[in-house]
Each structure stands twice: as structure tokens, then as C-alpha cells.
């Protein structure tokens, strides 16, 4: 025999679980858990904060099985989904996919581990054993207890994710995290500029704006025109009036300026040169990426089978991707080279760059790996990735059937 938790209602001895769960199919068909009925009627009056009809029916369905852990999971997981629905798309931006099941399971496990006296189990006992409606439930204490339990779920999730957000974003983000979840747009929050005159936006396609800045610089108007036309091609696919590709024009101009000791008569400041180089980098990357668009790929005529075509595609993507990475490192070299040693804003820095270019580039290849892989260790980000990964999980879709792409099981 089991007992129901104390409440303001009358406490009675009730039949055992096995007795309650043993019933004829006819009885099952007519049965309705009285407590569930009360919950549903409460929903109609709009007095339940934490769950809706769907969740209540889910609770009812799992209660019949009498498996506490399963019930906890079955109810908590959808609840997590509802709580986190607003932020999942934002988090997806980095970690990809929100594995609610893992977070829900972790929460449920913590409750089950804390064993019998846990409020959730007592509540489920109460709800389950009231299946036959053999005793009347007076008062709404148990409903408050149920809502309280869901509130605990909500608080647990908020605390857990806020901890991760604070670790990850530092002081700037902390102010944005509310007590229940966090602002959906936190990941795109614009950080304050610290004086980097190039600005990240330039490198990700904001070049047209930069071209206007370049025009303001005296003696730079002609170059700015080349930059602007190239950026229009990169961002809007707008060719030159004669139909040629302005990206190639810019790349050629950049090369000619770099090779000429007099810089073709252009008086370039460090910033101007770097902006020009960044525009060239954008142009080169744009061209490289076009090479791997499927319609542009000319497959070898001998490669007819699916796997063969796939292998060739992979080779092209790897080659192109590698070259794009190189373009980034070339640009990084240019930035470093401008400030190799004492600060110098005249064009002599450009000349030093070319004298040391090859060695500077070679150093960049080595240093960048160490800078990112080893240096980033001290930032705490990798640990946050792992922590967030456990909570939010870097989910993997099962892939598209039939493509036969590199499908292997992780050992």
C-alpha cells in the first residue's frame, strides 16, 4: 500500500500500484485521472502558469505507465523546449542545435538521484495513485505544488544557462542575461570598437562603406573607385560597364602598386594600404568561392560514378578552402607588417613589408596556429565550448540519405 503526501485534503489508504494498473481494457477506455481533469479544467479558466493542455495530457499519458523517471523526462523535456524556444536559434549560430533532451535528462536525473523524498516523486505518486478517483481531492494545494515543481525546472535551466553565458561572454553579456533565459540577440550584440580601424565589418563584406572613407583621403579617389567596383561585384554581382570582372582589375592594380617603388604615384597611409589589401582579399576569396559552386565545377569526363564525383568535389573544396585560409593569413601578414617595430604611419612601412614579406608570411603561418590553438587556452573558451556543448550540444543531423557522404560511425 502507498500513501499520498499530506495536504489539506483527506488522506486515505489506496490500492497498490499493481492493483491500480491492472484493469480491463474497458476500464482503461472509460478511465480519466481525476487530477488531470482538475488540471484541464483549471486551464480553461487560465489559472495555470507553467503548462498547457498538451503538457497536461502528456503527464496523464506517462503517469499510467508508473515509471517515475520516464514521466519526469517525458514532461520536463517538452517544457525545456518551450522555455528555450526563443533562444535556440541564436545559440544555433555557434553551437548548432539545442539538444533539449540532454538538458532535460540531466535535470531529471538529478531529481531521480535525490530519491524518494524528492518533491517530484511524491507529486507523481499522488497524481498516479489518484487515477481511480477513489478519493476526493479538496483544495488546490497539490496544483500549487505541481506548479512549484515546474518553476524549479525553469529556475534550474535559467541558472545553468546564465552561468554558461556569463562565463562565455564576460561582463558585457552578464547584464543582458535575464533571470529566465537570456536575451535572444546576445550573440549578435555589437561590441564596442577598441580602435581597430579596419573593423570586422569590412572583412565580411562591408567594403562599399570603406570605399567611401577612402575617397575622403586625398589622392586616393582613383583607388577607391577600383575598390568600390570590386566590392559591388563581390556583394551584388555587378560587373564593370564593359562586362569585365572588376575584382581582377583591383587585384592587378594592387599588384602594380606593390611592385612599383614609387607606388604609381599614390601617397598611401598605412590604413589606406590595409583597406586596399583587405578589398583585394575579399576579391580573391570571392573568386575562390565561385570556383566551387556546383554548376561551375567541370568534372572530369572519366569520373562518372557518384563516389568518384564526390571525391573530385572534395578535392576541389579542400583546395579552394585552403587557398581562402591562405588569403586570410596573407591579410594578417599585411596587418602585422605595418607595425613591425616602431609605429610608423608613412609609406616606408610598406617598403619594409615587401623586403620582409616572405619571411613575415612564413612566420604568420606558424604563429597563427599557436596563437589560436595554444593562446586561446587561457581564455576559458574551450572549457565553455565543452560545457555549453553538454548542455546545448553540437547536434549532428543524420545527414541526407542516399548521398553516401563520408558516412562513418564515430569509434
Amino acid at each position: 500500500m502507498s500513501e499520498v503526501p499530506k495536504s489539506s485534503t483527506e488522506i486515505r489508504k489506496v490500492p497498490s500500484k499493481s492493483e491500480l494498473l491492472t484493469r480491463t481494457s474497458r476500464e482503461v477506455g472509460l478511465y480519466r485521472n481525476k487530477n488531470i481533469e482538475v488540471l484541464l479544467s483549471k486551464l480553461e479558466t487560465g489559472t495555470l502558469d507553467n503548462f498547457d493542455g498538451e503538457l497536461v495530457k502528456l503527464l496523464e499519458a506517462t503517469l499510467k505507465e508508473g515509471n517515475y523517471k520516464k514521466t519526469l523526462l517525458a514532461v520536463v523535456v517538452p517544457y525545456f523546449e518551450r522555455l528555450t524556444g526563443a533562444v535556440a536559434p541564436t545559440i544555433t549560430g555557434i553551437w548548432g542545435g539545442f539538444r533539449i533532451a540532454d538538458a532535460g535528462k540531466e535535470f531529471a536525473d538529478s531529481y531521480v538521484k535525490e530519491d524518494v523524498v524528492n518533491k517530484g516523486r511524491r507529486l507523481l505518486d499522488f497524481l498516479m495513485l489518484n487515477e481511480t478517483g477513489l478519493f476526493d481531492v479538496e483544495g488546490d494545494d497539490w496544483i500549487e505544488t505541481l506548479q512549484g515543481w515546474f518553476n524549479e525546472v525553469k529556475i534550474w535551466l535559467a541558472e545553468r544557462t546564465n552561468k554558461v553565458v556569463r562565463q562565455f561572454g564576460g561582463a558585457l553579456v552578464e547584464g543582458m542575461a535575464s533571470s529566465v533565459g537570456f536575451t535572444a540577440g546576445w550573440i549578435s550584440y555589437p561590441f564596442a570598437a577598441v580602435g581597430g580601424y579596419l573593423g570586422t565589418s569590412f572583412l565580411v563584406g562591408g567594403g562599399i562603406g570603406v570605399a567611401r572613407e577612402m575617397k575622403k583621403s586625398s589622392g586616393f579617389e582613383q583607388i577607391a573607385e577600383y575598390v568600390e567596383r570590386s566590392e559591388r561585384m563581390v556583394n551584388e554581382d555587378v560587373r564593370s560597364e564593359d562586362g569585365t570582372d572588376p575584382r581582377h582589375d583591383l587585384i592587378v592594380l594592387h599588384g602594380r602598386i606593390a611592385e612599383d617603388p614609387n607606388r604609381l604615384g599614390h601617397k598611401l597611409k598605412n590604413e589606406d594600404w590595409l583597406r586596399l589589401s583587405a578589398a583585394v582579399r575579399n576579391a580573391r576569396v570571392s573568386i575562390l568561392r565561385e570556383k566551387t559552386q556546383v554548376p561551375e565545377i567541370i568534372m572530369s569526363k572519366e569520373v562518372r560514378d557518384v563516389l568518384g564525383r564526390q571525391a573530385e568535389l572534395i578535392d576541389r573544396l579542400v583546395e579552394s578552402g585552403g587557398e581562402i585560409a591562405n588569403e586570410d593569413l596573407v591579410m594578417a601578414t599585411e596587418i602585422i607588417s605595418q607595425y613591425d617595430g616602431a609605429l610608423d604611419r608613412d609609406t616606408s612601412a610598406v617598403e619594409r613589408r615587401f623586403i620582409n614579406y616572405n619571411s613575415a608570411y612564413a612566420k604568420t603561418i606558424r604563429y597563427s596556429q599557436a596563437f589560436v590553438r595554444e593562446g586561446i587556452r587561457g581564455t576559458g573558451i574551450p572549457l565553455v565550448v565543452k560545457t555549453v556543448g553538454k548542455l546545448l550540444n553540437i547536434s549532428s543531423r543524420l545527414g541526407v540519405p542516399g548521398t553516401g557522404i563520408l558516412r562513418r560511425n564515430k569509434k
Binding site: 570598437a193 573558451i381 549532428s396
Partner: protein, 114 residues
């Protein structure tokens, strides 16, 4: 207790594997997968390095340059020195990671197109 050193050392690889897994390309040991993973890792490293440098002041870039050209470079110290000067450093890195992931997902899309 997890070995946090292993987690941190493998950060770029973990993140790169995650990008590929998101696209349905599961972790593997065949040559093609290793090449793809290598390329993705190189793209992530290069972009992180470039965008972090691009956001620094000339003085900060100069400090990195001095370290890079020294006889005993200490990139960990260099990046910690930068991080301490930028309050939103982690958010910045998160944004860069997000951008490069988006870009790689688009670039590798032909692999999963039917």
C-alpha cells in the same frame, strides 16, 4: 573530472568536427575526411587570427608583431595580454566563430546537395 587540458588542446578540432557533423558529415578516419577536417580547421584558425588582429589598435598589433618576431615567441602570453584589454573578447571570438561557421557551411553545401 575531465582532463581540461585535452579539451582545450582539441578546441579547434572539436569545433571543426562540429561544423562538419552539423552538415551530416560524421567523424571518420578516411583520407577524405581528414583532408576536409584539416581544411576546416585551417579556415577557422586563419579567420580567428585575422579578425582578431583586424580589431586591434595599432599599438596592440605592434605588441603581437614584436612577440611574433622575437626569438622565443609566446603566443599564449600575447593573446592573454590582448584579452585583458578587451572586455568583450569572448563575445568577439564567439561572433567570429559564428561567421566562419556560416561561411563554411555555405561553401561546403555542394557536398550535401543531391
Amino acid at each position: 573530472m575531465e582532463n581540461t587540458n585535452n579539451i582545450q588542446e582539441d578546441f579547434i578540432t572539436l569545433y571543426s568536427e562540429g561544423i562538419l557533423e552539423e552538415m551530416g558529415i560524421e567523424v571518420g578516419e578516411d583520407e577524405k575526411y581528414i583532408k576536409l577536417l584539416g581544411m576546416v580547421s585551417d579556415r577557422v584558425v586563419a579567420r580567428l587570427y585575422l579578425e582578431l588582429l583586424a580589431s586591434l589598435t595599432p599599438e596592440q598589433v605592434s605588441e603581437v608583431a614584436v612577440d611574433m618576431n622575437s626569438d622565443s615567441p609566446d603566443p599564449e602570453k600575447a593573446i592573454l595580454a590582448i584579452k585583458s584589454k578587451i572586455s568583450d573578447f569572448n563575445v568577439r571570438v564567439a561572433q567570429i566563430l559564428s561567421r566562419v561557421k556560416d561561411e563554411l557551411t555555405k561553401d561546403l553545401a555542394p557536398l550535401i546537395q543531391k
